[in-house]
């Protein structure tokens, strides 16, 4: 394998059989290329889904009021269920579990905000301080709404990065005032959110302020919580379900909702969706690996075929070599060495080509479902190694057959 003589012999053979070598190389390179691109897209889809999913804390549970679909306790269907702030406090006080983060939410779907001549329409959300963590928002500049803001009902707002870009361009917005629906607010912070543009086109303010200016008494839209993380998934799922169940029971009894009415309260449990998403992700990964392995297999068959043709084509040459003193193992070594060298070289070529494509085109792919397609380098290298080993195995049998050729038969072969 490391003999310089053998290498010289290989290079000589390859340079004299350029077309044959090229064709073998193309089949291997395209196999690896397809595999790499496929795995890249798979990775991109996974990234996309994960980002979609990471918009909020992964252990967040929340309850939102809806509209009843069934009559119950003498009340008509079609009744709006309007949660109030008390529902939030009741849920906190009666909880059987420690609560990590907690916040009610009051939402105005669209509010016109302006700073001088710049203006835009954004979602307005009145929240408590913990909401930052429920939303996984991170502060770029300034601070989030704090408990003091809530207690005093200050007119302080935290704006999303999108809002900051629209209204302030490159200027520092901290301490500046914006007008929202005719009322002046002071910007105290700018946040970014992994949910992307849409999640960053929001303006947060203290719940009390939102209720006072835009709301109706103690009305709120949603109550959200997280329980402290536990490493055991099943335990986390159990806790979150029990916690949510209790809130649901209380609300159903308070608002006279039928126990089988599914549209009166929207319950969301991210831990449950985590499981679904991870199932989808792992299925998807499995699928891409399946397709990748099938491609690889096709590549191996191709290599094996070509090696068989090579040996067949070189039958006479092998006979001559044997008559001149080549031992069987040197024939095996010669064919294998050449095939492994060609496979490795073209495999690397296909790999680099695939990575280059992902690198150059990847950043321009603009969909929510494929984000930053890339291939884990270890995965790519191990596929090349697998291909080389498989190519060697595929090449071994033709090579062995070549070595078994009796020189007397080979020399007769015209």
């Amino acid at each position: 394998m490391f003999s310089l003589e053998r290498w010289q012999e290989i290079f000589e053979t390859i340079s004299k059989n350029k077309l044959r070598t090229f064709l073998t190389g193309v089949s291997v390179a395209s196999g690896i290329f397809i595999l790499v691109v496929l795995l890249g897209i798979g990775e991109g889809m996974q990234n996309g889904v994960e980002i979609q999913f990471q918009r909020d804390a992964e252990n967040k549970v929340s309850v939102t009021g809806g509209v009843t679909s069934l009559g119950y306790g003498g009340l008509n269907p079609g009744r709006d269920i309007q949660l109030v702030l008390d529902d939030f406090y009741t849920a906190v006080q009666t909880s059987d579990f420690d609560i990590e983060f907690q916040s009610p939410l009051y939402r105005v779907w669209s509010g016109l905000a302006s700073n001088g001549s710049e203006s835009g329409s954004y979602r307005l959300e009145g929240v408590h301080a913990d909401y930052q963590f429920l939303e996984k928002a991170s502060i770029i500049n300034g601070r989030f709404i704090n408990p003091l803001d809530q207690d005093l009902g200050t007119k302080n707002v935290v704006i999303g990065n999108r809002v900051k870009k629209d209204l302030f361009k490159e200027k520092d917005p901290i301490g500046e005032f914006i007008t929202v629906s005719g009322v002046k607010f002071k910007v105290v912070g700018v946040y970014t959110d992994p949910g992307g543009e849409r999640s960053e086109a929001r303006i947060f303010m203290p719940l009390k302020t939102a209720q006072r200016i835009f709301g109706n008494g103690e009305d709120i839209r949603t109550i959200s919580f997280t329980l402290p993380k536990v490493s055991d998934y099943d335990l986390a799922l159990y806790q979150s379900q029990a916690f949510l169940k209790k809130i649901e029971r209380q609300l159903r009894s308070k608002y006279n909702i039928s126990p089988v009415d599914t549209s009166a309260l929207y319950l969301s449990n991210n831990i449950e969706s985590t499981k679904e998403i991870y199932t989808i992700l792992s299925t998807m990964k499995l699928f891409f690996w399946g397709v990748g392995i099938a491609t690889l297999f096709a590549g191996i068959i191709g290599v094996s075929n070509i090696m068989l043709i090579i040996v067949k084509e070189r039958t006479k040459e092998i006979g001559i070599r044997k008559a001149l003193g080549a031992v069987p193992m040197s024939i095996v070594g010669m064919v294998l060495h050449e095939s492994i060298f060609v496979t490795a070289l073209s495999g690397m070529f296909g790999l680099i080509l695939g990575l280059l494509l992902l690198e150059s085109v990847g950043p321009f792919i603009d969909t929510e479902f494929i984000v930053n397609p890339e291939v884990n380098f270890n995965v790519a290298v191990s596929t090349v190694i697998i291909l080389i080993i498989a190519g060697a195995i595929a090449g071994f049998f033709p090579a062995w057959r070549g070595a078994r050729i009796k020189p007397i038969d080979a020399l007769r072969d015209e």
Binding site: E12, T13, K16, E317, A323, G325, V327, S330, I408, L411
Partner: protein, 233 residues
């Protein structure tokens, strides 16, 4: 140099067994130039294949330079071929993507010689057969006579004990045939033992001894005064 006793060989052809060699007794001393003659089917090629260790006898003994050639595995056969024998074929059997020089150097590669030494020695044998200027040419750029000269250089390069030539002039015209035989006689004059299988009478007359084979047995084995090929060129 070569000692053969009671050599038998048969081939299976379908259900029948074809007895090709029926007890050959034959010996060749160092420096001899022997031709083995016979019509097709006489068993001369089979005998040469056994002598060349490309085929194995069913029965009988074969000694080459004092080494018994028996029950060889493929590896040992290959090593013995490389060490003891030089082959010259009717169809030249040059490797067509290698230059004349590389073809001549090939048996030396299997002897494990370093590249520089291989090339020097191959070049000296190409000079010997008069093709030094053609060293970098591929076989398909050479004439039939030139190809056979390259093949002879290749057979000589590994310093074999015996040269085995199978119808070495079969693919050549008369004039070229005599030129090649002239070269063979020169090599023999230097002391090399050479066996030539042929069915051409004029070629056989240029060797020192003619062995006639018919239906698997030697019917005639006589020394002759060789006709010098150079007289006809």
């Amino acid at each position: 140099m070569i000692e053969i006793k009671d050599l038998h060989k048969s081939y299976k052809v379908g259900k029948n067994s074809l007895h090709v060699l029926k007890g050959i007794n034959f010996s060749v001393k160092e420096g001899e130039l022997v031709s083995i003659m016979g019509s097709s089917g006489s068993g001369k090629s089979t005998l040469l294949n056994i002598l060349g260790m490309l085929d194995e006898a069913d029965q009988g003994s074969y000694n080459l330079d004092g080494v018994p050639i028996k029950n060889l595995n493929e590896k040992l056969a290959a090593q013995y071929r490389n060490k003891f024998l030089g082959f010259i074929f009717q169809s030249f059997n040059l490797i067509n993507y290698k230059t004349a020089l590389d073809n001549v150097a090939l048996p030396l590669y299997y002897q494990g010689l370093p590249r520089g030494e291989r090339m020097d020695r191959a070049m000296s044998y190409l000079e010997k057969v008069g093709l030094a200027d053609w060293a970098t040419h591929l076989p398909n750029e050479l004439s039939g006579g030139q190809k056979q000269r390259v093949a002879i250089a290749r057979a000589l390069a590994s310093h074999p004990k015996v040269l085995l030539a199978d119808e070495l002039t079969g693919a050549l015209d008369t004039k070229t045939s005599y030129e090649i035989m002239d070269l063979v006689q020169q090599i023999n004059d230097e002391g090399k033992t050479i066996l030539v299988v042929t069915h051409e009478e004029d070629i056989a007359q240029m060797t020192k001894r003619i062995v006639n084979l018919k239906d698997g047995v030697i019917i005639d084995d006589k020394k002759v005064e060789p006709i010098r090929a150079s007289a006809h060129v």
